[in-house]
């Protein structure tokens, strides 16, 4: 599970992940709600995910 957030959220408990859901990967932009920067990064990760499975 990849989880996109506009900013860090309290359930992350100060970490870069969601301790509640260990296998969740969190993507959040440097600037609040900066989806225009974040989404291409996620797309690159997805392309790598596809390549690794092939």
């Amino acid at each position: 599970m990849w989880f996109l957030t506009a900013a860090r959220t309290w359930p992350q408990l100060g970490t870069d992940e969601y301790p509640w859901y260990r296998k969740t990967q969190v993507f959040s932009p440097e600037r609040f709600g900066d989806w225009a920067t974040l989404i291409p990064q996620v797309a690159a990760e997805l392309a790598a995910f596809v390549k690794n499975r092939a």
């Binding site: 599970m1 990849w2 989880f3 996109l4 957030t5 506009a6 959220t9 359930p11 408990l13 970490t15 969601y18 301790p19 509640w20 859901y21 260990r22 296998k23 969740t24 709600g33 989806w35 225009a36 989404i39 291409p40 996620v42 797309a43 997805l46 392309a47 995910f49 596809v50 499975r53 092939a54």
Partner: protein, 219 residues
């Protein structure tokens, strides 16, 4: 999210005791399968008409049907004893989707196209102007949607047909909607989440459940 405490509570209650778990009616089947030794039931919510305003009351008839519990607690309150440190958060999965339905979804996905199958959940059903900044509009997902070699699957609950059509017209990409009511059939939503290879989600109002789904079946 707080349900991550339930395996601990089941262990503490032990074989001698009985753990009773009250959840939303849509979650009963999924939780009962995941905690076969517990008694899972739902609420009977009422509103008390009062001169000072209406008061919401939550009854749990199944809890006291056969016995009086020795104690009760809100699901999240045991966190103060059992999650004192990040290291205390477990890694093991505990929610068990219906394996038969997972297999059926997997077969149905194969008919849609080649894998990997990537589920998408792009907005909250509660989307309103003041919340909009938290949710990336589907059109902003274009770079993700245009990733080659992926079959996309709808995990967006609520009416997503218009947005799926929009994506088809603008980007020529199909987000396949499977035969399941993602809002009310949570057990089905859990099975579909387990059937896909990866799910990508924007924050939603749904309590963050899908993240735990499917781990035991290897997805």
């Amino acid at each position: 999210m707080f349900a991550t405490i339930l395996p601990d509570l089941a262990r503490l209650v032990g074989d001698e005791g009985l753990l009773q778990i009250a959840v939303d009616p849509r979650l009963v089947t999924l939780f009962q399968r995941s905690f076969p030794n517990a008694e899972v039931g739902s609420y009977d919510d009422r509103t008390l008409l009062d001169p000072d305003g209406n008061k919401a009351l939550r009854f749990l008839p199944f809890v006291t049907d056969k016995r009086q519990p020795d104690c009760w607690l809100p699901m999240g309150s045991a966190l103060q004893y059992l999650r004192k440190d990040i290291q205390d958060f477990p890694h093991a999965a505990f929610i068990l989707p219906d394996q038969g339905r997972v297999a059926k979804f997997r077969a149905a996905l194969t008919a849609k196209g080649p894998g990997p199958y990537v589920g998408l959940c792009w907005r909250s059903m509660m989307l309103a102007a003041k919340r909009a900044k938290y949710y990336s509009a589907l059109e902003m997902w274009e770079p993700i949607l245009k990733t080659p070699g992926v079959t996309f699957v709808n995990l967006q609950y609520g009416d997503a047909a218009a947005e799926i059509a929009q994506v088809r017209e603008r980007f020529g990409v199909e987000i396949h909607a499977m035969d399941v009511d993602l809002k009310d059939d949570i057990d089905g939503a859990a099975a579909l989440s387990a059937a896909v290879d990866l799910a990508i989600s924007a924050p939603t109002r749904r309590p963050r459940m899908p993240r735990r789904w499917g781990r035991r079946c290897g997805s």
